[in-house]
Symmetry: C2
Subunit: 474 residues, 2 copies
């Protein structure tokens, strides 16, 4: 019998792989080491828990350790894998009782990513948070909830003891908060804070929030943030957080603002250091290079999730787009491959959706012209605004679509969408088109849905395709 | 200079073609003959106008005759083309001043379809309506609106005089109504009638409403109709409508019901008689066979809209699926072709969406196993139910997806979806996949959107693809 399948990391990719492998090959030993207490948590749900739309932190946990073990997976929390030795096919594991060696036959690196705070000074002050950990979410929820409204269910994480949060629970909510970084975390946390009526400052270095969504969507998000009363500092560099023990001030190049609490969401970095010395190849992003089966450059070692690159369906090159579905899908495929039935991890299209107050935003593919050119394309874009429903039907909402295509081939390279009425989910149509290397001319003639309550005769996506096709053939 | 481009029919296909031709080739004479008073009206909006969600009948009119003429199109309403002579390239036109001959160089047949009432007896009684005409919509709205609530704006159709409706306006609303036929018209009109608190009977011959949407969606629609208090008569054949002058009774094989008003929506038939003797080929559906440019079997004669067949992207065979987008798209393409720049009309996927009270339904492609087998496939289907959002996020709604694929090739053949939360528009993802001959295995790995407010990690479509792929590879 072969040595175990060892998985490093107990979140989406790691547990998907472990569960799938065990299901397909019940006799295989599958061991998961997770360095923290937490497993299988919904990172993307944290802002909504902080906001209060999700009642309990337990709601963000998909699988308990007991459920994982019921699947036959040998799960060890609070165990950190500190070294990988591909020659001997062992990992060194540090637990409460010391360090031990664990042999593996197959190894999955699913170590995720971590929030970065550099180069901002003062991020180690109290009441400065990043959103890459459940403890942060719990502490923020505790701080934002008036003491008299807090209840135990809110902080019932089942298998994790959150009693050390009591100091946060007992404090009165902050009045003024700042979010540094206008990406996903920034926009979602601004919504969470405004949902609690806090004075909210949002700092973004560039001229629009959510740069991956492009200019048209960025402009719309800006308008929604403004309308919602967010104090938006665009083109503003935060230099430092200052305070005595706790954060008291954001110091930026547009001046200083007194604050009670800060969330820093300026980016994440892949946790790939573990394999940096092993011969496993890292890409330009710093994440682990993988092939179509999630294999790294070292025999027997796989990587998946936020620490790994994947092949982008438009460029054909490896790319780092750390998102939840990619992690789950790659983990599941690797679990099946390790169990003996090779399954490709699938390509990524960079599909992402974002809620900014009532605005639904979506993006997929390559929309940035510099990136498109670097990938060998000659990008052309058009932006249109069209109704989400028949004009006469109640609830019709203006929907903005940008499509980008390659001039010569007419191939769709990417697109974005924003609007209040079922806009975000429409991005899946474009994502599907990208996976199939669809041209704009083809897209324009696709038989999409029409009924007054759901779409006008020409869906906004078709309108955009018509306009871009006109430009391409002009 | 060539003879004119003559268009028969002034609705979606006809006016799209006329407008596009004139825009691309402003020197070309473009003449449209419309036998009724109405042009460019939104047939799909009628139930919502009757229900009262759309205020004025004028809201359902996209283009006025004046606007059409501003585009340089020579529009003649109340002019019926009664004969086509392909040898001499003329049509005979009957207007108020008699019949005349009109030469053409290119001819578009865009005569639409008509509601059928056979074999039901008594459909000529007063207060029996079909929903294939704006006059019916106006009369129904008038009847359903209490006299004291009626206002002129409701019936302001601009260029059409609706004063003959005054008798309907003055009558008190009916109390009990019946809808014969449980297709689109039946389901939408049942919603309209229940929205006005009328006792509503819905008769359907087969065991589920909306047969094109398949069993899973049909069952859900049944539940929503029941919940909404619609008196549903499934597996019931209506034999006759009876009454003295006005309809008073529906006589069906489950007994008779006293009613004040009846809508018959048991099907439509293509208006293809005009060209039946010309050498233009008609398909098995009775609609006009067209090629990829909308050309019929006779040189210089095109057909588009509800009177025409189109190539189905899954079967590769011609099919008759009379829907709004197909008409607009084919009309536009033919206008461009006639103007000298050939443009394909595009293929159809049979994509359709339907609102049944709060339930959103969608369908695309081939889902019926008999039809799939007739097209040479070996169909396999799976139905799943999954959440529309992350389970912990408010508003998450159960969403039912059925996918059908060919066993050997794994190719997706069609799918259906139903649910309350953004379900219908998700069908566009499947329609796009059909146009690209996607396999279920490919679909399963597409990088679709995930964010708690809009989709779970695995969108219901991906869940269905996973399950069906499992079945296919078992």
């Amino acid at each position: 019998m072969s040595d175990p399948f060892v998985v490093v990391g107990g979140d989406a990719a790691g547990l998907s792989a472990a569960s799938k492998c065990k299901r397909e090959d019940p006799d295989r030993d599958v061991i998961v080491y997770e360095k923290s207490e937490w497993i299988s948590y919904a990172h993307c749900g944290m802002p909504y828990y902080v906001k209060g739309e999700v009642d309990s932190i337990g709601d963000l946990l998909s699988l308990s350790p007991a459920e994982v073990r019921e699947r036959g997976v040998d799960l060890h929390r609070n165990h950190e894998v500190v070294e990988v030795d591909p020659e001997r096919q062992t990992v060194s594991v540090e637990g409460a009782d010391g360090t031990f060696e664990q042999p593996y036959d197959d190894l999955l690196i699913a170590t995720g990513a971590r929030a970065v705070t550099e180069p901002i000074d003062g991020t180690d002050l109290d009441d400065v948070f990043t959103m890459h950990h459940m403890h942060s979410a719990a502490a923020l929820r505790a701080l934002l909830t008036p003491p008299e409204e807090a209840d135990d269910a809110m902080f019932d994480a089942g298998y994790v003891d959150l009693s050390e949060l009591s100091e946060y629970v007992e404090r009165d909510p902050p009045e003024t908060v700042a979010v540094v970084g206008g990406g996903y975390v920034g926009v979602e946390m601004a919504e969470a804070f405004r949902g609690r009526d806090l004075d909210t400052h949002l700092y973004q270095r560039s001229d629009r929030p959510a740069p991956p969504f492009g200019e048209a969507v960025g402009d719309e998000i800006t308008a929604y943030l403004d309308d919602a009363g967010v104090d938006l500092h665009l083109n503003t560099e935060v230099e430092a957080l200052a305070g005595d023990g706790s954060v008291e001030r954001v110091v930026a190049d547009d001046g200083a603002v007194e604050v009670d609490l800060v969330v820093v969401g300026i980016g994440i970095r892949p946790n790939a250091e573990l394999v940096a010395e092993t011969g496993v190849e890292l890409g330009g992003s710093g994440a682990i290079v993988t092939d179509e089966y999630g294999r790294t450059a070292v025999e027997g070692i796989y990587a998946a999730g936020d620490c790994a690159e994947n092949r982008h369906t438009v460029t054909g090159e490896n790319d780092w787009v750390p998102l939840g579905l990619t992690a789950n899908r790659a983990g599941r495929a690797i679990g099946q491959t390790v169990a003996g039935e090779p399954a490709p991890v699938g390509e990524i299209a960079g599909t992402a959706v974002l809620k900014a107050f009532d605005l639904e935003c979506g993006r997929t593919g390559i929309i940035d012209h510099d990136r498109a050119e670097a990938a060998g394309f000659d990008p052309v874009s058009e932006t249109i605004t069209a109704g989400s429903r028949s004009g006469y039907y109640p609830g019709n909402a203006e929907t903005t679509v940008t499509l980008t295509a390659d001039r010569e081939s007419g191939r769709l390279l990417g697109g974005t969408i924003a609007g209040e009425d079922r806009a975000a989910i429409r991005i899946d149509t474009l994502a599907t088109a990208l996976h199939e290397a669809t041209t704009v001319e083809e897209l324009e003639r696709f038989d999409l849905a029409y009924a007054p309550p759901f779409s006008p005769v020409w869906d906004p996506i078709l309108v955009a395709a018509k306009v871009l096709d006109g430009t391409l053939s002009a």
